[in-house]
């Protein structure tokens, strides 16, 4: 037993670290450090820098531009990316539709889409949730009716992240209602410019506009844009769950935030803005969350090591997601507490109020927006259901 990375892994870490340090544009780094909103163009720019290096989609099969990295290397890559304050890129492109097309797509679909997905020439969004199908995703009702070489789509998706930027959507739609609700779901790729698609923004509690409603009114999608067989969409969507586990707890992100919090604590103390009992209390809170983060990191590494041996514990991804999101949210609470009443104003005036300290005005929006991480991608309660079934057997 040992906790050390191998010499090769350390060399890899150095290579990744120096690449991120040199390649990440300064303005992007500054935005990330202050938790400011990233524009579409910011993410595209960074994705293309990564793609030029061959590292945009390391989790994909090698023949489509992926890297044959070990689970440990993937973990290192993700951790270094976070510690370098680099954006994560589009999860819908990199972690979802790319791997799905690589695994289940036709040769024509691979040729048409994969390179463009990796380079973010096409921005993808995910059309899964509906007003009546959240945690119970299989209850989805958006209807696809076959008409010649097309499907005709009618219905509505909701909570569609960044649909306003999207060129394409991958969506689960219902082609058959006769059997179990998991059956009769079909996986389709939709060009967002197709007539009949309407995107309506939803304002979220952080003041942001990343979520949307998407309406479909007789939208025609060619059958060639179907993934796999009709009626098997649920299987394709499920195949991805729990597949990518080396980064699911987002340890690097939380580590980076802890480093920032400690720097903030020191800085405020030096300026006399954090003293006595208040400072002691914060230091204890930081120690508490750091212990949990260390324990989660080692648990993540145990999973990474088990994956390298091919020893999958089925419910590990859920455990990592539950605890990882709880810790991420805890970090945002601590920043919010530090900002105090100065963090109330988040509009243009805030900059003047707080003498340009971006972290103060970003604290509350960040706290509010991070409530989503325990809801999306399978709410933490759904994750608990998955683990419970695995340990109890029913």
């Amino acid at each position: 037993m040992d906790l050390d990375f191998t010499a090769e892994e350390l060399a890899f870490r150095d290579e990744v670290r120096s690449f991120f340090r040199e390649a990440l544009p300064d303005d992007l780094r500054a935005k990330m450090i202050e938790r400011r909103h990233l524009e579409k163009d910011d993410i595209v720019r960074w994705q293309r820098i990564l793609n030029a290096r061959g590292w945009a989609v390391p989790n994909w099969p090698v023949e489509y531009g992926g890297q044959a990295w070990s689970p440990a290397q993937r973990y290192i890559y993700q951790e270094e990316m976070a510690l370098a304050h680099a954006p994560e890129g589009s999860p819908f492109n990199i972690n979802m539709i790319g791997p799905i097309i690589a695994r289940f797509g036709t040769d024509a679909q691979k040729d048409r889409f994969l390179a463009r997905i990796a380079n973010l020439d096409d921005w993808w969004c995910q059309g899964f949730s509906e007003p009546g199908a959240g945690s119970d995703l299989a209850a989805l009702k958006t209807r696809a009716t076959r008409d010649g070489d097309d499907y005709v789509i009618n219905g509505q998706k909701i909570w569609t992240t960044q649909a306003q930027h999207a060129d394409w959507m991958f969506a689960l739609v219902r082609t058959d209602s006769s059997g179990r609700k998991q059956q009769g779901i079909t996986f389709l790729l939709l060009d967002m410019k197709t007539p009949g698609i309407t995107v309506r923004p939803i304002e979220t509690i952080d003041g942001g506009h990343d979520a949307n409603e998407v309406f479909f009114d007789d939208v025609r999608v060619p059958v060639e844009n179907r993934i796999g067989e009709e009626g098997r969409g649920w299987d394709y969507a499920k195949a991805l769950l729990g597949g990518e586990r080396s980064g699911i707890a987002r340890i690097g992100l939380s580590k980076e935030r802890l480093i920032q919090l400690r720097a903030l604590e020191r800085d405020l103390a030096e300026r006399g803005m954090l003293t006595g009992r208040e400072r002691d209390r914060l230091r204890r809170k930081l120690a508490e969350v750091e212990v949990e983060l260390r324990a989660l990191e080692l648990t993540q590494l145990r999973v990474v090591a088990a994956d390298a041996h091919g020893a999958h514990a089925g419910h590990a991804a859920s455990i990592l997601k539950i605890k990882g999101t709880e810790i991420q949210q805890r970090m945002t609470e601590l920043v919010l507490e530090l900002a105090g009443p100065a963090g109330l104003a988040t509009d243009a005036q805030a900059q003047a109020n707080t003498a340009g300290e971006g972290w103060v005005e970003a604290a509350a929006p960040f706290y509010f927006t991070m409530r989503k991480v325990s809801i999306f991608g399978g709410a933490n309660e759904i994750q608990r259901n998955i683990v419970a079934k695995s340990i109890l057997g029913f």
Partner: protein, 374 residues
């Protein structure tokens, strides 16, 4: 990075698991606790025959030269069985003091006997007027010719009543020091008490106890440094024991959720309980990870070693309380009877948090050190 046991470590794990499975059925443990002395000399001899008592001692002292991982393996298994023989007191705690501070003569006079199972030792440090966890002892040791005279009182000495010899912390003019005190000595009074976790305890009174010069462990003034190291090794072992007790508690609880029927269905079908069982598993896995960290930290430089072990003690203190309480709650009334194992595991987990600095104590250490980073 490697979380696998070596072949030898796996054999050790299998051996000690078998020992617990064969000899430590819960009903057997109940009988042992009710019997003379509160623990089993027969089991102790069996542990000696398996070579387990010699595991962490150096080969030159007759041991096997095992490290943190080997002790973790043993303590996890003993924790699963809620084993009450004095492994922690004798081999881990007193053993650590001997390994780190005893002269060659002192070691030769004790370690072979410990390994053979014929010498029981423990550490007598806690005192009535002491804060929960500190080095601040009131027991005194005065120079008397070549030797020493000790006065004071020690409480909650684990396995103190059955011990042949205790390591006693006392103030000298040159600072705190540790002394080897045979329990049969004139002026030593050892009164048995029973811990709520089943561990036989003792209150020890020292009234002008005369000790020879070679009863001193290390030098006067070194006591604190030696004890600090002893506490680190013991905490790493305690954390592993706690993980064993937590795993047993978790397994008993999930088994109960599957088999206990109310409202005509297994109670494990209720989501309120299912989700809490998952939270128990999360705490268990986090604690398991931290026990590995503690075991692998024993050879690190002082600062990092201390912090890592403190972090593990924090995790296990918090998780042990949560898992113990939840297990009792989900079992309902059966959880609070003495006839059922879960309540005993809960009590041992509670005691482990109380020993050698609870979670809050270690959080303060980490906070004062500005976190875990070196």
């Amino acid at each position: 990075m490697n979380f696998e046991f070596s072949e030898e470590q796996q054999m050790l794990a299998d051996m000690v698991d078998r020992f617990v499975a064969d000899r430590y059925a819960f009903e057997t443990r109940q009988k042992i606790m009710a019997g003379d002395g509160g623990w089993s000399r027969e089991n102790w001899s069996a542990l000696a025959e398996l070579g387990l008592l010699g595991l962490p001692f150096a080969e030159e002292d007759g041991g096997f030269g095992g490290g943190g991982v080997e002790t973790m393996i043993i303590m996890t298994a003993l924790g699963r069985g809620l084993v009450i023989e004095p492994y922690l007191s004798t081999v881990v705690m007193a053993g650590a003091a001997l390994r780190n501070a005893a002269s060659q003569e002192q070691r030769a006079a004790r370690i072979p006997a410990i390994i053979a199972g014929s010498h029981i030792m423990s550490l007598a440090h806690q005192e009535p007027a002491m804060p929960r966890h500190s080095f601040d002892v009131a027991t005194t040791a005065r120079r008397a010719g070549e030797g020493w005279r000790l006065d004071g009182c020690k409480i909650s000495v684990p396995h103190g009543a059955g011990a042949d010899e205790l390591i006693v912390s006392a103030q000298t003019e040159a600072g705190m020091a540790l002394f080897l005190v045979p329990t049969k000595l004139s002026g030593v009074d050892v009164v048995r008490a029973t811990g709520y976790d089943g561990t036989p305890l003792a209150t020890m009174t020292l009234a002008d106890v005369a000790l020879p010069g070679d009863a001193l462990l290390g030098e006067p003034g070194q006591g604190e440094a030696i004890l600090a190291r002893v506490f680190e090794e013991t905490n790493a072992a305690l954390v592993a024991e706690a993980v064993g007790a937590m795993r047993e508690t978790f397994d008993l609880t999930t088994e109960y959720l599957k088999t206990r029927t109310q409202f005509d269905v297994p109670i494990g079908s209720f989501q309120a309980l299912r989700h809490r069982a998952v939270d128990m598993l999360i705490e268990l896995e986090l604690s398991h990870s931290m026990a590995i960290l503690a075991a692998l930290s024993l050879d690190l430089p002082g600062d990092q070693r201390r912090k890592n072990i403190s972090a593990a003690k924090v995790q296990v203190g918090r998780s042990g309380r949560m898992i113990g309480q939840e297990a009792v709650q989900m079992h309902g009334a059966i959880g609070i009877t003495s006839e059922y194992k879960v309540g005993h595991a809960f009590k041992r987990l509670t005691a482990i948090d109380a020993l050698l600095g609870d979670a809050d104590h270690h959080i303060d250490l980490i906070a004062d050190a500005d976190g875990l980073a070196a």
